[in-house]
Symmetry: D2
Subunit: 145 residues, 4 copies
Amino acid sequence: MEKLSEGFFDSSMNSREHAIFEVGIKLAAIYHIMIGIPVTNEINIKKKIADGIIAAISCQPFVKKVEIGIKDTLGQLGQKFDKEHEFDYTYVSGKNLFAKVEVKYDNWIAVGYVEWVSDLNYPLMYIKELREDPETEQKTNTECP
Amino acid sequence: MEKLSEGFFDSSMNSREHAIFEVGIKLAAIYHIMIGIPVTNEINIKKKIADGIIAAISCQPFVKKVEIGIKDTLGQLGQKFDKEHEFDYTYVSGKNLFAKVEVKYDNWIAVGYVEWVSDLNYPLMYIKELREDPETEQKTNTECP
Amino acid sequence: MEKLSEGFFDSSMNSREHAIFEVGIKLAAIYHIMIGIPVTNEINIKKKIADGIIAAISCQPFVKKVEIGIKDTLGQLGQKFDKEHEFDYTYVSGKNLFAKVEVKYDNWIAVGYVEWVSDLNYPLMYIKELREDPETEQKTNTECP
Amino acid sequence: MEKLSEGFFDSSMNSREHAIFEVGIKLAAIYHIMIGIPVTNEINIKKKIADGIIAAISCQPFVKKVEIGIKDTLGQLGQKFDKEHEFDYTYVSGKNLFAKVEVKYDNWIAVGYVEWVSDLNYPLMYIKELREDPETEQKTNTECP
Protein backbone atom coordinates (compact mmCIF):
# COMPACT_ATOMS: atom_id res chain seq x y z
CA MET A 1 0.00 0.00 0.00
CA GLU A 2 1.34 3.38 -0.83
CA LYS A 3 1.71 5.80 2.02
CA LEU A 4 0.08 9.02 0.99
CA SER A 5 1.82 11.02 3.65
CA GLU A 6 5.37 10.03 2.83
CA GLY A 7 6.10 13.02 0.62
CA PHE A 8 5.63 15.35 3.59
CA PHE A 9 8.41 13.77 5.61
CA ASP A 10 12.15 14.36 5.64
CA SER A 11 13.23 11.93 2.95
CA SER A 12 16.01 10.53 5.10
CA MET A 13 13.52 8.89 7.48
CA ASN A 14 13.46 5.11 7.32
CA SER A 15 10.67 2.72 8.29
CA ARG A 16 12.04 2.13 11.78
CA GLU A 17 12.03 5.86 12.40
CA HIS A 18 8.51 6.22 11.06
CA ALA A 19 7.36 3.52 13.50
CA ILE A 20 9.06 5.42 16.34
CA PHE A 21 7.32 8.66 15.35
CA GLU A 22 3.90 7.06 15.08
CA VAL A 23 4.12 5.37 18.45
CA GLY A 24 4.98 8.70 20.07
CA ILE A 25 1.89 10.26 18.53
CA LYS A 26 -0.39 7.46 19.69
CA LEU A 27 0.90 7.42 23.28
CA ALA A 28 0.39 11.17 23.68
CA ALA A 29 -3.03 10.97 22.05
CA ILE A 30 -4.19 8.32 24.52
CA TYR A 31 -2.77 10.28 27.43
CA HIS A 32 -4.33 13.64 26.57
CA ILE A 33 -7.68 12.18 25.55
CA MET A 34 -8.03 10.20 28.76
CA ILE A 35 -6.66 12.53 31.44
CA GLY A 36 -9.59 13.95 33.38
CA ILE A 37 -12.18 11.30 32.49
CA PRO A 38 -14.15 10.61 35.69
CA VAL A 39 -13.78 7.04 36.87
CA THR A 40 -14.78 4.82 39.77
CA ASN A 41 -12.88 1.83 41.06
CA GLU A 42 -15.51 -0.50 39.59
CA ILE A 43 -13.62 -2.85 37.28
CA ASN A 44 -16.44 -2.88 34.71
CA ILE A 45 -16.52 0.88 34.42
CA LYS A 46 -12.77 1.08 33.95
CA LYS A 47 -12.85 -1.66 31.36
CA LYS A 48 -15.54 0.10 29.32
CA ILE A 49 -13.64 3.40 29.35
CA ALA A 50 -10.44 1.64 28.31
CA ASP A 51 -12.21 -0.41 25.61
CA GLY A 52 -13.61 2.75 24.03
CA ILE A 53 -10.23 4.40 23.66
CA ILE A 54 -8.63 1.13 22.56
CA ALA A 55 -11.21 0.96 19.77
CA ALA A 56 -10.54 4.58 18.76
CA ILE A 57 -6.75 4.28 18.64
CA SER A 58 -6.69 0.79 17.13
CA CYS A 59 -8.24 2.14 13.95
CA GLN A 60 -5.58 4.79 13.44
CA PRO A 61 -2.92 4.41 10.78
CA PHE A 62 -0.18 1.86 11.46
CA VAL A 63 -1.56 0.69 14.83
CA LYS A 64 -1.37 -3.05 15.42
CA LYS A 65 -2.38 -3.42 19.05
CA VAL A 66 -3.42 -1.26 21.99
CA GLU A 67 -3.71 -2.09 25.69
CA ILE A 68 -5.02 0.43 28.20
CA GLY A 69 -5.59 0.11 31.92
CA ILE A 70 -6.65 2.43 34.72
CA LYS A 71 -5.09 1.38 38.00
CA ASP A 72 -6.95 1.52 41.30
CA THR A 73 -6.57 4.76 43.14
CA LEU A 74 -5.22 4.09 46.59
CA GLY A 75 -6.20 5.96 49.72
CA GLN A 76 -3.75 7.72 51.94
CA LEU A 77 -2.66 4.62 53.81
CA GLY A 78 -2.30 2.65 50.60
CA GLN A 79 -5.63 0.86 50.91
CA LYS A 80 -7.92 0.60 47.91
CA PHE A 81 -10.08 3.67 47.45
CA ASP A 82 -13.77 2.93 48.09
CA LYS A 83 -16.87 4.99 47.43
CA GLU A 84 -18.20 6.28 50.72
CA HIS A 85 -20.15 9.35 49.63
CA GLU A 86 -21.49 10.84 46.41
CA PHE A 87 -18.24 12.62 45.51
CA ASP A 88 -16.16 9.60 46.29
CA TYR A 89 -14.73 8.93 42.90
CA THR A 90 -11.65 9.88 41.04
CA TYR A 91 -10.52 10.59 37.48
CA VAL A 92 -7.92 9.35 35.04
CA SER A 93 -4.57 10.95 35.78
CA GLY A 94 -0.90 10.50 35.00
CA LYS A 95 -0.69 8.37 38.13
CA ASN A 96 -3.25 5.70 37.32
CA LEU A 97 -3.13 5.49 33.52
CA PHE A 98 -1.25 2.69 31.79
CA ALA A 99 -1.08 2.12 28.04
CA LYS A 100 0.90 -0.04 25.63
CA VAL A 101 0.79 0.59 21.89
CA GLU A 102 2.27 -1.52 19.11
CA VAL A 103 2.79 0.23 15.80
CA LYS A 104 3.91 -1.33 12.53
CA TYR A 105 5.39 0.66 9.69
CA ASP A 106 6.47 -1.55 6.79
CA ASN A 107 8.56 -4.24 8.41
CA TRP A 108 9.32 -2.38 11.64
CA ILE A 109 7.46 -2.72 14.91
CA ALA A 110 7.75 -0.21 17.76
CA VAL A 111 6.23 -1.00 21.14
CA GLY A 112 5.64 2.03 23.34
CA TYR A 113 4.38 2.52 26.89
CA VAL A 114 3.04 5.31 29.02
CA GLU A 115 2.94 4.73 32.76
CA TRP A 116 3.68 6.46 36.01
CA VAL A 117 7.31 6.12 37.07
CA SER A 118 7.63 6.79 40.79
CA ASP A 119 11.39 7.42 40.63
CA LEU A 120 10.83 10.25 38.15
CA ASN A 121 7.48 11.29 39.67
CA TYR A 122 6.36 11.49 36.08
CA PRO A 123 4.08 9.72 33.58
CA LEU A 124 6.84 8.50 31.29
CA MET A 125 6.32 7.65 27.62
CA TYR A 126 8.99 5.31 26.30
CA ILE A 127 9.73 2.69 23.65
CA LYS A 128 10.52 -0.65 25.19
CA GLU A 129 11.02 -2.66 22.04
CA LEU A 130 11.98 -2.13 18.42
CA ARG A 131 12.08 -5.13 16.12
CA GLU A 132 11.77 -6.19 12.52
CA ASP A 133 8.81 -8.31 11.54
CA PRO A 134 9.40 -10.47 8.46
CA GLU A 135 5.70 -10.30 7.60
CA THR A 136 5.68 -7.01 5.72
CA GLU A 137 1.97 -6.85 4.98
CA GLN A 138 0.22 -3.77 6.36
CA LYS A 139 -3.26 -3.99 7.78
CA THR A 140 -5.93 -3.17 5.26
CA ASN A 141 -7.95 0.00 5.46
CA THR A 142 -11.24 -1.43 6.54
CA GLU A 143 -9.87 -3.62 9.30
CA CYS A 144 -9.17 -2.49 12.82
CA PRO A 145 -6.98 -4.76 14.89
CA MET B 1 -28.61 11.20 51.74
CA GLU B 2 -26.87 14.33 52.85
CA LYS B 3 -25.20 16.36 50.13
CA LEU B 4 -21.72 17.12 51.30
CA SER B 5 -21.28 19.91 48.83
CA GLU B 6 -24.38 21.90 49.69
CA GLY B 7 -22.63 24.26 52.10
CA PHE B 8 -20.49 25.61 49.27
CA PHE B 9 -23.44 26.82 47.23
CA ASP B 10 -25.44 30.03 47.35
CA SER B 11 -28.06 29.09 49.92
CA SER B 12 -30.88 30.42 47.76
CA MET B 13 -30.43 27.62 45.21
CA ASN B 14 -33.25 25.10 45.15
CA SER B 15 -33.21 21.50 43.95
CA ARG B 16 -34.46 22.36 40.47
CA GLU B 17 -31.60 24.82 40.07
CA HIS B 18 -29.06 22.30 41.34
CA ALA B 19 -30.29 19.83 38.71
CA ILE B 20 -29.88 22.53 36.03
CA PHE B 21 -26.32 23.26 37.17
CA GLU B 22 -25.30 19.61 37.24
CA VAL B 23 -26.63 18.88 33.76
CA GLY B 24 -24.63 21.81 32.37
CA ILE B 25 -21.47 20.39 33.92
CA LYS B 26 -22.07 16.92 32.54
CA LEU B 27 -22.83 18.09 28.98
CA ALA B 28 -19.66 20.17 28.79
CA ALA B 29 -17.60 17.36 30.32
CA ILE B 30 -18.79 14.90 27.66
CA TYR B 31 -18.15 17.43 24.91
CA HIS B 32 -14.62 18.38 25.93
CA ILE B 33 -13.56 14.83 26.77
CA MET B 34 -14.74 13.48 23.43
CA ILE B 35 -13.80 16.19 20.95
CA GLY B 36 -10.75 15.03 19.00
CA ILE B 37 -11.09 11.29 19.66
CA PRO B 38 -10.24 9.54 16.36
CA VAL B 39 -13.15 7.56 14.97
CA THR B 40 -14.09 5.56 11.91
CA ASN B 41 -17.55 5.15 10.50
CA GLU B 42 -17.65 1.56 11.74
CA ILE B 43 -20.72 1.31 13.95
CA ASN B 44 -19.00 -1.01 16.42
CA ILE B 45 -16.09 1.35 16.95
CA LYS B 46 -18.40 4.28 17.54
CA LYS B 47 -20.49 2.27 19.96
CA LYS B 48 -17.46 1.26 22.03
CA ILE B 49 -16.21 4.83 22.26
CA ALA B 50 -19.65 6.06 23.28
CA ASP B 51 -20.13 3.22 25.79
CA GLY B 52 -16.86 4.11 27.52
CA ILE B 53 -17.83 7.72 28.10
CA ILE B 54 -21.39 6.72 29.03
CA ALA B 55 -19.91 4.50 31.74
CA ALA B 56 -17.63 7.29 32.98
CA ILE B 57 -20.34 9.95 33.19
CA SER B 58 -23.07 7.64 34.48
CA CYS B 59 -21.12 7.14 37.71
CA GLN B 60 -20.87 10.84 38.46
CA PRO B 61 -22.97 12.43 41.18
CA PHE B 62 -26.67 12.92 40.41
CA VAL B 63 -26.56 11.32 36.93
CA LYS B 64 -29.48 9.05 36.12
CA LYS B 65 -29.01 8.29 32.45
CA VAL B 66 -26.62 9.09 29.61
CA GLU B 67 -26.95 8.56 25.87
CA ILE B 68 -24.12 9.36 23.47
CA GLY B 69 -23.88 8.97 19.72
CA ILE B 70 -21.35 9.84 17.03
CA LYS B 71 -23.06 10.55 13.75
CA ASP B 72 -21.66 9.44 10.43
CA THR B 73 -19.39 11.97 8.79
CA LEU B 74 -20.70 12.80 5.37
CA GLY B 75 -18.57 13.48 2.32
CA GLN B 76 -18.79 16.64 0.30
CA LEU B 77 -21.83 15.59 -1.67
CA GLY B 78 -23.62 14.35 1.42
CA GLN B 79 -22.79 10.69 0.88
CA LYS B 80 -21.55 8.59 3.74
CA PHE B 81 -17.82 8.90 4.31
CA ASP B 82 -15.94 5.66 3.55
CA LYS B 83 -12.39 4.59 4.23
CA GLU B 84 -10.42 4.62 1.01
CA HIS B 85 -6.87 5.07 2.22
CA GLU B 86 -4.96 4.81 5.49
CA PHE B 87 -5.76 8.36 6.60
CA ASP B 88 -9.38 8.01 5.70
CA TYR B 89 -10.90 8.44 9.07
CA THR B 90 -12.27 11.28 11.06
CA TYR B 91 -12.57 12.39 14.67
CA VAL B 92 -15.28 13.39 17.11
CA SER B 93 -16.24 17.04 16.58
CA GLY B 94 -18.99 19.46 17.42
CA LYS B 95 -20.66 18.43 14.18
CA ASN B 96 -21.02 14.71 14.75
CA LEU B 97 -21.38 14.42 18.53
CA PHE B 98 -24.76 13.92 20.13
CA ALA B 99 -25.42 13.43 23.86
CA LYS B 100 -28.41 13.38 26.19
CA VAL B 101 -27.97 13.47 29.95
CA GLU B 102 -30.61 13.05 32.64
CA VAL B 103 -29.73 14.38 36.08
CA LYS B 104 -31.73 14.00 39.28
CA TYR B 105 -31.27 16.24 42.28
CA ASP B 106 -33.71 15.44 45.08
CA ASN B 107 -37.09 15.37 43.35
CA TRP B 108 -36.08 17.37 40.26
CA ILE B 109 -35.03 15.94 36.92
CA ALA B 110 -33.24 17.96 34.23
CA VAL B 111 -32.75 16.50 30.76
CA GLY B 112 -30.00 18.15 28.73
CA TYR B 113 -28.71 17.75 25.19
CA VAL B 114 -25.68 18.69 23.18
CA GLU B 115 -25.94 18.47 19.41
CA TRP B 116 -25.03 20.35 16.28
CA VAL B 117 -27.63 22.96 15.31
CA SER B 118 -27.23 23.87 11.66
CA ASP B 119 -29.20 27.10 11.97
CA LEU B 120 -26.77 28.38 14.59
CA ASN B 121 -23.76 26.62 13.05
CA TYR B 122 -22.97 25.67 16.60
CA PRO B 123 -22.87 22.64 18.93
CA LEU B 124 -25.68 23.79 21.24
CA MET B 125 -26.09 22.61 24.82
CA TYR B 126 -29.63 23.02 26.08
CA ILE B 127 -32.17 21.71 28.59
CA LYS B 128 -35.18 20.22 26.88
CA GLU B 129 -37.10 19.11 29.92
CA LEU B 130 -37.44 19.96 33.58
CA ARG B 131 -39.83 17.94 35.71
CA GLU B 132 -40.53 16.79 39.21
CA ASP B 133 -40.24 13.12 39.98
CA PRO B 134 -42.35 11.98 42.93
CA GLU B 135 -39.85 9.23 43.70
CA THR B 136 -37.38 11.21 45.78
CA GLU B 137 -34.86 8.48 46.42
CA GLN B 138 -31.34 9.23 45.17
CA LYS B 139 -29.18 6.54 43.65
CA THR B 140 -26.87 4.91 46.13
CA ASN B 141 -23.16 5.42 46.05
CA THR B 142 -22.06 2.05 44.80
CA GLU B 143 -24.55 1.87 41.97
CA CYS B 144 -24.04 3.37 38.53
CA PRO B 145 -27.14 3.69 36.38
CA MET C 1 -30.74 41.11 21.98
CA GLU C 2 -32.71 38.08 20.96
CA LYS C 3 -31.40 34.75 22.12
CA LEU C 4 -31.36 32.43 19.15
CA SER C 5 -31.14 29.35 21.28
CA GLU C 6 -34.12 30.03 23.52
CA GLY C 7 -36.57 27.99 21.49
CA PHE C 8 -34.59 24.83 22.21
CA PHE C 9 -35.01 25.10 25.97
CA ASP C 10 -37.80 23.98 28.28
CA SER C 11 -40.02 27.05 28.18
CA SER C 12 -40.37 27.12 31.96
CA MET C 13 -36.72 28.11 32.41
CA ASN C 14 -36.21 31.63 33.66
CA SER C 15 -33.18 33.90 33.29
CA ARG C 16 -31.74 32.96 36.67
CA GLU C 17 -31.87 29.29 35.68
CA HIS C 18 -30.29 30.01 32.30
CA ALA C 19 -27.40 31.73 34.10
CA ILE C 20 -27.00 28.69 36.36
CA PHE C 21 -26.89 26.35 33.36
CA GLU C 22 -24.35 28.44 31.47
CA VAL C 23 -21.98 28.71 34.42
CA GLY C 24 -22.03 24.92 34.80
CA ILE C 25 -21.07 24.54 31.15
CA LYS C 26 -18.21 27.01 31.40
CA LEU C 27 -16.72 25.52 34.58
CA ALA C 28 -16.66 22.02 33.11
CA ALA C 29 -15.24 23.31 29.82
CA ILE C 30 -12.35 25.01 31.62
CA TYR C 31 -11.70 21.92 33.71
CA HIS C 32 -11.66 19.40 30.88
CA ILE C 33 -9.70 21.62 28.50
CA MET C 34 -6.99 22.31 31.06
CA ILE C 35 -6.53 18.98 32.83
CA GLY C 36 -3.32 17.39 31.59
CA ILE C 37 -1.65 20.53 30.24
CA PRO C 38 2.04 20.30 31.23
CA VAL C 39 3.10 23.07 33.55
CA THR C 40 6.10 24.18 35.56
CA ASN C 41 6.04 26.16 38.79
CA GLU C 42 7.31 29.24 36.94
CA ILE C 43 4.76 31.94 37.58
CA ASN C 44 5.08 33.36 34.06
CA ILE C 45 4.39 30.03 32.42
CA LYS C 46 1.32 29.46 34.56
CA LYS C 47 0.05 32.93 33.85
CA LYS C 48 0.35 32.47 30.08
CA ILE C 49 -1.49 29.16 30.17
CA ALA C 50 -4.26 30.67 32.31
CA ASP C 51 -4.47 33.81 30.13
CA GLY C 52 -5.00 31.72 27.01
CA ILE C 53 -7.95 29.84 28.44
CA ILE C 54 -9.35 33.01 30.03
CA ALA C 55 -9.34 34.58 26.56
CA ALA C 56 -11.05 31.54 25.02
CA ILE C 57 -13.82 31.28 27.61
CA SER C 58 -14.36 35.03 27.97
CA CYS C 59 -15.59 35.20 24.39
CA GLN C 60 -18.24 32.56 24.88
CA PRO C 61 -21.90 33.49 25.08
CA PHE C 62 -23.06 35.18 28.33
CA VAL C 63 -19.62 35.20 29.98
CA LYS C 64 -18.78 38.39 31.87
CA LYS C 65 -15.56 37.53 33.65
CA VAL C 66 -13.14 34.63 34.05
CA GLU C 67 -10.32 34.05 36.52
CA ILE C 68 -8.07 31.01 36.33
CA GLY C 69 -5.10 30.01 38.45
CA ILE C 70 -2.80 27.01 38.67
CA LYS C 71 -1.58 26.53 42.21
CA ASP C 72 1.94 25.46 43.01
CA THR C 73 2.42 21.74 43.24
CA LEU C 74 3.85 20.86 46.61
CA GLY C 75 6.39 18.14 47.24
CA GLN C 76 5.85 15.31 49.66
CA LEU C 77 6.78 17.30 52.75
CA GLY C 78 4.65 20.24 51.69
CA GLN C 79 7.51 22.28 50.30
CA LYS C 80 7.22 23.96 46.93
CA PHE C 81 8.02 21.65 44.06
CA ASP C 82 11.22 22.65 42.22
CA LYS C 83 12.71 21.51 38.95
CA GLU C 84 15.72 19.33 39.67
CA HIS C 85 15.94 17.21 36.54
CA GLU C 86 14.49 17.23 33.05
CA PHE C 87 11.28 15.41 34.01
CA ASP C 88 10.77 17.58 37.01
CA TYR C 89 7.56 19.25 36.06
CA THR C 90 3.93 18.60 36.59
CA TYR C 91 0.60 19.09 34.82
CA VAL C 92 -2.72 20.75 35.47
CA SER C 93 -4.89 18.50 37.62
CA GLY C 94 -8.00 18.63 39.75
CA LYS C 95 -5.74 19.40 42.69
CA ASN C 96 -4.02 22.54 41.42
CA LEU C 97 -6.64 24.14 39.14
CA PHE C 98 -8.72 27.04 40.34
CA ALA C 99 -11.29 28.94 38.25
CA LYS C 100 -14.01 31.50 38.84
CA VAL C 101 -16.55 32.33 36.13
CA GLU C 102 -19.17 35.05 36.14
CA VAL C 103 -22.05 34.61 33.71
CA LYS C 104 -24.82 37.08 32.94
CA TYR C 105 -28.12 36.08 31.39
CA ASP C 106 -30.52 39.00 31.07
CA ASN C 107 -30.53 40.56 34.51
CA TRP C 108 -29.19 37.53 36.41
CA ILE C 109 -25.59 36.93 37.37
CA ALA C 110 -24.25 33.54 38.47
CA VAL C 111 -20.74 33.24 39.90
CA GLY C 112 -19.28 29.73 39.80
CA TYR C 113 -16.08 28.17 41.04
CA VAL C 114 -14.08 25.03 40.48
CA GLU C 115 -11.42 24.18 43.02
CA TRP C 116 -10.03 21.28 44.98
CA VAL C 117 -11.90 20.66 48.21
CA SER C 118 -9.74 18.63 50.58
CA ASP C 119 -12.64 17.52 52.76
CA LEU C 120 -14.35 15.94 49.77
CA ASN C 121 -11.05 14.92 48.11
CA TYR C 122 -12.67 16.23 44.98
CA PRO C 123 -12.46 19.13 42.46
CA LEU C 124 -15.82 20.68 43.32
CA MET C 125 -17.77 22.90 40.93
CA TYR C 126 -20.24 25.12 42.74
CA ILE C 127 -22.16 28.39 42.51
CA LYS C 128 -21.20 30.78 45.27
CA GLU C 129 -23.37 33.69 44.31
CA LEU C 130 -26.59 34.39 42.45
CA ARG C 131 -27.77 37.98 42.16
CA GLU C 132 -29.78 40.33 40.03
CA ASP C 133 -27.99 43.08 38.20
CA PRO C 134 -30.18 46.11 37.42
CA GLU C 135 -28.10 46.85 34.32
CA THR C 136 -29.82 44.51 31.88
CA GLU C 137 -27.67 45.20 28.86
CA GLN C 138 -25.93 42.14 27.40
CA LYS C 139 -22.41 42.35 26.05
CA THR C 140 -22.28 42.89 22.33
CA ASN C 141 -21.13 40.22 19.94
CA THR C 142 -17.82 41.65 18.96
CA GLU C 143 -16.65 42.46 22.45
CA CYS C 144 -14.94 39.99 24.76
CA PRO C 145 -14.78 40.97 28.39
CA MET D 1 23.21 16.02 31.28
CA GLU D 2 22.19 12.54 32.25
CA LYS D 3 18.88 11.38 30.93
CA LEU D 4 17.05 9.72 33.74
CA SER D 5 14.63 7.99 31.45
CA GLU D 6 17.14 6.32 29.17
CA GLY D 7 17.14 3.01 31.01
CA PHE D 8 13.49 2.50 30.14
CA PHE D 9 14.06 2.58 26.40
CA ASP D 10 15.11 -0.11 23.95
CA SER D 11 18.88 0.20 24.18
CA SER D 12 19.27 0.22 20.40
CA MET D 13 17.65 3.65 20.11
CA ASN D 14 20.03 6.41 19.10
CA SER D 15 19.75 10.15 19.69
CA ARG D 16 18.17 10.84 16.30
CA GLU D 17 15.46 8.30 17.06
CA HIS D 18 14.87 9.75 20.51
CA ALA D 19 14.35 13.17 18.90
CA ILE D 20 11.85 11.64 16.47
CA PHE D 21 9.92 9.99 19.31
CA GLU D 22 9.79 13.16 21.40
CA VAL D 23 8.52 15.31 18.54
CA GLY D 24 5.70 12.83 17.91
CA ILE D 25 4.67 13.08 21.56
CA LYS D 26 4.69 16.88 21.55
CA LEU D 27 2.68 17.23 18.33
CA ALA D 28 -0.06 14.91 19.56
CA ALA D 29 -0.09 16.61 22.97
CA ILE D 30 -0.65 20.03 21.37
CA TYR D 31 -3.36 18.63 19.10
CA HIS D 32 -5.36 16.85 21.79
CA ILE D 33 -5.03 19.63 24.34
CA MET D 34 -6.20 22.29 21.90
CA ILE D 35 -8.98 20.58 19.94
CA GLY D 36 -12.31 21.90 21.18
CA ILE D 37 -11.07 25.13 22.76
CA PRO D 38 -13.63 27.83 21.88
CA VAL D 39 -12.16 30.59 19.74
CA THR D 40 -13.23 33.71 17.89
CA ASN D 41 -11.60 35.14 14.80
CA GLU D 42 -10.17 37.98 16.87
CA ILE D 43 -6.42 37.86 16.33
CA ASN D 44 -5.66 38.80 19.93
CA ILE D 45 -7.76 36.00 21.35
CA LYS D 46 -6.13 33.46 19.08
CA LYS D 47 -2.69 34.71 19.96
CA LYS D 48 -3.34 34.42 23.70
CA ILE D 49 -4.64 30.86 23.37
CA ALA D 50 -1.63 29.89 21.24
CA ASP D 51 0.82 31.63 23.59
CA GLY D 52 -0.51 29.69 26.57
CA ILE D 53 0.03 26.31 24.95
CA ILE D 54 3.39 27.41 23.52
CA ALA D 55 4.47 28.23 27.09
CA ALA D 56 3.23 24.87 28.38
CA ILE D 57 4.93 22.76 25.71
CA SER D 58 8.13 24.82 25.56
CA CYS D 59 8.95 23.76 29.12
CA GLN D 60 8.71 20.07 28.39
CA PRO D 61 11.82 17.91 28.15
CA PHE D 62 13.92 18.34 24.97
CA VAL D 63 11.76 21.06 23.41
CA LYS D 64 13.68 23.90 21.77
CA LYS D 65 10.97 25.87 20.02
CA VAL D 66 7.21 25.83 19.51
CA GLU D 67 5.01 27.76 17.08
CA ILE D 68 1.23 27.47 17.15
CA GLY D 69 -1.41 29.18 15.06
CA ILE D 70 -5.17 28.99 14.71
CA LYS D 71 -6.26 29.82 11.19
CA ASP D 72 -9.34 31.84 10.43
CA THR D 73 -12.45 29.79 9.97
CA LEU D 74 -13.94 30.50 6.57
CA GLY D 75 -17.62 30.68 5.78
CA GLN D 76 -19.27 28.56 3.16
CA LEU D 77 -18.27 30.77 0.25
CA GLY D 78 -14.69 31.02 1.49
CA GLN D 79 -15.12 34.45 3.07
CA LYS D 80 -13.79 35.11 6.51
CA PHE D 81 -16.16 34.01 9.25
CA ASP D 82 -17.54 36.97 11.20
CA LYS D 83 -19.50 37.16 14.43
CA GLU D 84 -23.10 38.04 13.68
CA HIS D 85 -24.92 36.66 16.70
CA GLU D 86 -24.05 35.42 20.18
CA PHE D 87 -23.26 31.85 19.06
CA ASP D 88 -21.20 33.06 16.16
CA TYR D 89 -17.88 31.63 17.13
CA THR D 90 -15.99 28.50 16.46
CA TYR D 91 -13.52 26.20 18.17
CA VAL D 92 -10.06 24.79 17.53
CA SER D 93 -10.28 21.80 15.20
CA GLY D 94 -8.08 19.68 12.99
CA LYS D 95 -8.91 22.07 10.17
CA ASN D 96 -7.68 25.34 11.67
CA LEU D 97 -4.84 24.23 13.96
CA PHE D 98 -1.24 24.62 12.89
CA ALA D 99 1.81 23.80 15.01
CA LYS D 100 5.55 23.44 14.52
CA VAL D 101 7.75 21.89 17.20
CA GLU D 102 11.53 21.68 17.30
CA VAL D 103 13.00 19.06 19.60
CA LYS D 104 16.66 18.53 20.46
CA TYR D 105 18.02 15.28 21.86
CA ASP D 106 21.78 15.35 22.29
CA ASN D 107 23.07 16.56 18.95
CA TRP D 108 19.96 15.74 16.91
CA ILE D 109 17.17 18.12 16.00
CA ALA D 110 13.76 17.00 14.73
CA VAL D 111 11.30 19.55 13.39
CA GLY D 112 7.70 18.35 13.31
CA TYR D 113 4.44 19.83 12.07
CA VAL D 114 0.75 19.26 12.48
CA GLU D 115 -1.56 20.90 9.98
CA TRP D 116 -4.62 20.18 7.88
CA VAL D 117 -3.76 18.56 4.55
CA SER D 118 -6.64 19.01 2.13
CA ASP D 119 -5.50 16.24 -0.19
CA LEU D 120 -5.68 13.73 2.65
CA ASN D 121 -8.64 15.46 4.34
CA TYR D 122 -6.69 14.89 7.51
CA PRO D 123 -4.73 16.79 10.18
CA LEU D 124 -1.33 15.31 9.35
CA MET D 125 1.56 15.12 11.81
CA TYR D 126 4.90 14.83 10.08
CA ILE D 127 8.63 15.48 10.46
CA LYS D 128 9.88 17.93 7.89
CA GLU D 129 13.48 18.12 8.94
CA LEU D 130 16.06 16.04 10.77
CA ARG D 131 19.53 17.46 11.25
CA GLU D 132 22.56 17.32 13.46
CA ASP D 133 23.43 20.36 15.50
CA PRO D 134 27.10 20.66 16.41
CA GLU D 135 26.22 22.51 19.60
CA THR D 136 25.52 19.56 21.85
CA GLU D 137 24.52 21.44 24.96
CA GLN D 138 21.04 20.69 26.24
CA LYS D 139 18.86 23.39 27.70
CA THR D 140 19.11 23.61 31.43
CA ASN D 141 16.30 22.56 33.70
CA THR D 142 15.18 25.91 34.90
CA GLU D 143 15.08 27.57 31.51
CA CYS D 144 12.17 27.37 29.09
CA PRO D 145 12.91 28.36 25.53
